[in-house]
Amino acid sequence: MTSKRVLVVDDEIHIVHIVAIKLRNNGYDVVTAGNGAEAFKIACEEKPDIIVTDYQMPLMSGLELVEKLRGSEAMRDIPVILLTARNFAIEDKQKEDLGISQCISKPFSPKELLENIEDILYQRELVGHSAELGRSLDS
């Protein structure tokens, strides 16, 4: 079974580093980026299973990155976890519209972040399986 790929995006190098260590220690394949623009480029190339991104970053914010991803046919469905130091920055409606799976406030626990990633990926896997089952039953 191939390991899941996670794209971690933050302009804080220490945050990227620690999240990457936590995820790698738990069997994930991790790619990193320092801002939204770089992240979009990497996402196009690497096709991650999930993206963990900071909200406020230079050049392109986390929110702008999500908007750009949702506009792209290939990356429309990639689940996104938004890390934010501003709890009030995103309204529920905006979160729903952009398909943001989870908003996590800084400071955060790497353990909880890992649990969230696992939950989201598991749910997607279940949805994928049931869709596959439905298709096979139909045929």
Binding site: E12, I18, P107, F108, P110
Partner: protein, 505 residues
Amino acid sequence: MKFGRNLYAIVTGIVLCCLIIGGLSEWQDSGAEEGWRFVFFMQRWGPVALVCYIAAAVGVIWLGWCWIKLAGTITSMARHLRQDKSAHIKPDRNVVINDLSEAINERIESYVHYIAQLEKQVKDLQIQIQLSQRRGKNTEAIIYSIRDAVIVVDEFDKLLMANEAAGRLFNFDFAGSRHKPIGELVEPGKSEFVDILRHSRQSKARATRKEIEFLKACPEQPVVSEVEPSRRDAEPKTYNCIISCVYDQDQQVCGTVAVLHDITREKQIQQMKNDFVSHVSHELKTPLASITAYSEMLADGEANDEQRMKEFCSVIQSQAKRLNRLIEDILNISRIESGLIKVEKKPISLTILIEEQLQMIKSAASEKNIEIIRQKPIVFDQVYADKDMISQVIVNLLSNAVKYTSAGGKVMIETEVDETANLVRVSVTDSGVGIPEDEIERVFDKFYRIGANKKQAKGTGLGLNLVKQIVEKVHDGRVFVTSKVGVGSTFGFELPLATPEAVKA
């Protein structure tokens, strides 16, 4: 009156003569027989008739005399009264006249008293009119001198009073607009104000408060203009509008007073404070997030080897320092502003200080491949300053230059001594994004961040304000900035050179 008496005597005499002559001629004409009969009659009854006749004549004369005297007295009284209205009439021997004169005197006295009262009232009223006129002028002067726009309208929304600020805000001249409907005076773009005014009057609310945003017309534009609103109404302004109803004696609304206070600046400050809280919380949470994450990983045994453990501890330490620095920045600004900061001034060399600070910024510059060009050595550049504070100034300027310069750019730090002005000038020039001309004046403002540069790098908007406070408030120096968008900026400061006495000491 003498003429009247004389005339009366003459007329009476003539009448008596006429009667005697008439009697005698009648006797002569009637013949001797009748004449003798008359004489005979007169011989018998003559003395009685004569006495009666004389008595009647005297009575008539006396009555006539009394009448003339009464008329004379009344005429004299009338003349007397006409000449002096308040004069009293002298008592007369005649009882009737005396009664009349007493009654008139009483009436005169009451009238005099009444007139005196009226005169007093008139004087009081005149004084009150003068006072109210003066009060009115004072009130008008006070209303005119108020910087807030004040508008007073009657119950039909017609303008009663407006001060200069109101005229400027709504573009009308009060002198030519008195008693005109306010709806006609206010531009269509500001009709919200008229609606609120009308609504307040109709609701009879004692006071209504509302914030209104107007797009303020540029002063150089004419009042009635064909220019597009978008061009004319460039600068949005927020006003706090307080409308109070004026009530008459029957508690009916007889007008409304509106006071419009410009709160644009307060709103801007509020916005800046909100931005500051938001930025600061973000800036504080970022190192805190690292500390929390790394310490949790350490506690969970995720650091497999000793080297990784050391690395984690080092990150925790550096982030704790970063957090402390940020808190110190905020506290320093607060302390400098309140004058509570402890300053330890001593002679220091700026060249040496810059050298030390360059070491701190080196790693950040090399990360972005930014070349730092250093100054040429200067023999004497000592200033009498607080070492830690000036170090902070240099670090802030250098880190800003690195932050806003793209990878591969250049940052140059120079020191020059102006012996004529007796000062040292330090300037940091970068090849960064630059600052738009309209924002350059505000770069040293607390919490202010250049709109276009917010995305370029993180910041609290405190760094440059701290530089300004340290240089200008603590060291009596001066900060300066020049910039061109796309070319780069030069930030710097000037400090007075230390005197040789201070250096020796």
